[in-house]
Amino acid sequence: MTPLLEARGLTKSYGHLRANDDVSFSIFPGEIVGIVGENGAGKSTLVKMLGGAIAPDSGDVYIAGERIAMRSPADAKQAGISLVHQHFKLIDSLTIEENLVLGRPELRHGILDFKALRPGFENVARDLGTRLPFDARVSTLSVGGRQQVELVRALFHEPRLLILDEPTAVLPPTERDRLLRFIRLLKERGMATILISHKLDDLYDCCDRAVVMRAGRVVGASDLRPDDRAQLVRLIVGAELPPPDTRHGSRGAPLVTVKDLVVHRDNGTVAVDRGSFDLHAGEIVGLCGVEGNGQTELMHALAGMRPIQSGEIVYALEREPGVKRDAAALRQVGIAHIPEDRLHHGAVPSFSLTMNWLLRKLSRPGLVSFGFLRRLAAAKATWEAIRANDVRASGPRARMSDLSGGNQQKFVIARELGDDAAVILAGHPTRGLDIRTVATIRNRLVAERAKGVAILLLSADLAEVWDLADRVMVMARGKLRGPVPVGETSLAEIGHWMTAP
């Protein structure tokens, strides 16, 4: 049988970096193949070449045994390949229908003919098991909704091969399950799918086999037998993962107490609706919820980045409660915050690491004197921190944007956590990262808990919450439920709370 798609010896370099080095890969009709690897292993480069978004330096792509010149996304489309990018390519201010038509302009007398395309879009959406509000603006959609629009767009051309780049990274569990079910449905119809994911569960739940990449090369394959899991991890990481830390400290006094807290969004709607809970020393409280239900605003209010409408937050360590409470003042009394969006809040991507180090360190003695930055001292502190925390960077003068996502996150965490952190507000600390970095960061949080730090862990990954948290609470439409001890609830109950009206 001829493979649907075969890539032979694909090579792509960026400067000195070999992003893909002699990569060969094939997929047959009706197959679901997972591609796994750490950040920077070359997965995205490979699928971008298969999707025609970038051209290989050398190597060939064959479709059904025929060599295809893959020079642009149009060539890929012609060959029946559809690629859904990790970062959605939608225009927020346009409606769903307008976004879909953009990908396939059907003209009648020189005017876009919306009517002709509508039934086709509706058919694809029905297939997906969803009813998209075609006249609504994309900006009103959840992340899952946006992905469905991308899928409708990708499937509208009736491709033979669908490539999904990290489709589950941002999805809540229920929507993730629905997506994987849908991919299996496509398989029954003979469609081939390439699924890129950091989450091994995605592969085991959905794929026929997996290809492992490391440092730009294909280093192995797995047919995903459940008892092979440890070996697959070794293949991905190239070594053993650090064992999970399970230490517990003793639970201490409450360090943060929240009472009847009300927080608004920028547009004045209620984000957090009379929430109350407490956070004790030496415990991790998991915060779950479907994206957009007020968790972000709650975290920002706790970190001093968003004003409180009513109610109160009491920090046990604050000397003068409530006086001059901004993000910098709170950090000084030990309230550390790992922001959920490291590039929008956690760092200035165009600045050097040293300047990014100073971002949260301006009140530190030794780095500033009389309003002047002590750049040398800052560079030295940065250098020591990136060495101690295994941040892969050329040095303190490297730009933040030149680091991989995992290294950016390690940098942000290294800057934020120190001897003086008493409370950690962690927003999606492991989202989108590879398994080795995830393991490192989780162990770090557990180690902080063992030292008596109070941790609020916002995570979309319920398995992560279950592994790490002592108590768990759920936010839905601004209302808080819990926290309840993890042992006294179940994944099903939490899932129900997350989606209950």
């Binding site: 960026y14 400067g15 970190a303 001093g304 980045m305 901004d326 993000a327 910098a328 003042a329 709170l330 950090r331 915050h337 922001p339 969006d341 929008h344 809040h345 956690g346 760092a347 200035v348 991507p349 165009s350 600045f351 300047m355 100073l358 971002l359 949260r360 301006l362 500033v368 309003g371 002047f372 930055l373 750049r375 730009r399 944007s401 030149d402």
Partner: protein, 337 residues
């Protein structure tokens, strides 16, 4: 890649040469002669100093524009802030008579204060009422022009009343000429000092760092806990202050009083100066000299070739386009990342 860059560079240079030539031809003149006349004048003994004379206010206001832009703020109000600085400094100037160099320094500081007050007002409006600083600064330009027009016909009127202009400033507040036989005055030193000060503040101080974080990533500024509202007001004050200083320098070095239409057009040209210099302190004086050539050369073209004045603006606009497009052709530092 290299070939593409050469092609692009050729396109830009061709555009920069062709468009103005076309308009010069339409005006019935020889483009080559216009070009040589402009350059010969600008490099000639008299033109050289005139280019620098115009580059002084352009540098000062350009620094102000750059400081605001680095914080993500568009200060289009250079013209109005220049006037505010000139008015405040001239208002207090009579009190400095006989106080020597200290009087001169105070005179310049009042110029800075005048522009800073106007700039801070804009920053306050932005933070308090969410008013666009672009609109507000443009509107305040008109207010300032009308205000000066009233002042020099009323409260600050020249006692002789021949022309609509203010009384003269005392000799102590006059910036001395530094090259005999020209108009080039000590404002040049003031401008260069400000360039150095700008670079130090931008690179070495908490204020410069915080304001550039606000400009590059407001979310990070919120996360870091910077007091963004206060920063906005301070940055706008400094930005306006530099334009106000330019006003005092123009009065002290050239006019020695306030006149109608004083310093007109510097505010807008300074925006182009800041952008062309990519907001880099060290590049701003050079960009200012480029525009100084147009300001100083416009007169020469009018005198020698009877070229209509607006034509110079067309040439100026083409240069702005061309220089802004240069990064399209030039390899950037990030290209290989």
């Amino acid at each position: 890649m290299i070939r593409m860059r050469v092609v692009r560079l050729g396109l830009i240079l061709g555009f920069a040469a062709l468009v103005p030539s076309l308009f010069v031809l339409l005006a019935g003149q020889n483009p080559w002669r216009v070009f040589t006349t402009l350059l010969l004048y600008a490099l000639g003994p008299q033109g050289r100093s005139e280019v620098l004379v115009h580059a002084i206010p352009l540098t000062l206001i350009g620094l102000g524009v750059a400081f605001a832009l680095r914080a993500g703020l568009f200060n289009i109000g250079g013209d109005g802030q220049l006037i505010a600085g000139a008015v405040l400094s001239v208002f207090f100037a009579p009190y400095f008579a006989g106080s020597g160099i200290a009087g001169l320094v105070a005179f310049l500081m009042f110029g800075f204060a005048g522009g800073a007050a106007l700039g801070a007002f804009v920053g306050y409006l932005r933070e308090r009422f969410n008013a666009s600083e672009i609109i507000v600064t443009i509107m305040l330009n008109y207010v300032a022009v009308q205000m000066v027009s009233y002042l020099i016909r009323g409260p600050m009127e020249d006692p002789l009343r021949f022309f609509p202009r203010s009384y003269a400033i005392p000799a102590d507040a006059v910036l001395p000429v530094i090259v005999q036989g020209t108009r080039l005055h000590a404002g040049l030193i003031v401008a260069l000092l400000m360039v150095v000060l700008f670079a130090v503040v931008q690179r070495q101080t908490v204020l410069g760092f915080q304001s550039s974080v606000v400009g590059a990533n407001p979310g990070a500024a919120a996360y870091a806990g910077f007091r963004v509202k206060m920063l906005t007001i301070i940055v706008m004050a400094i930005s306006g202050g530099l334009a106000g200083l330019a006003g005092a320098v123009e009065v002290g070095g050239i006019y020695q009083r306030i006149e109608d239409n004083m310093g007109e057009g510097f505010g807008l040209a300074a925006i182009a100066v800041a952008l062309i210099a990519r907001l880099e302190a060290a590049a701003i004086p050079f960009a200012a000299c480029l525009f100084g050539i147009f300001f100083a050369g416009a007169g020469a073209l009018q005198r020698e070739l009877a070229l209509p004045f607006p034509l110079v603006w067309i040439v100026e606009a083409t240069v702005i386009f061309a220089v802004s497009a240069l990064h399209w052709a030039m390899p950037s530092r990030k290209a290989d990342a």
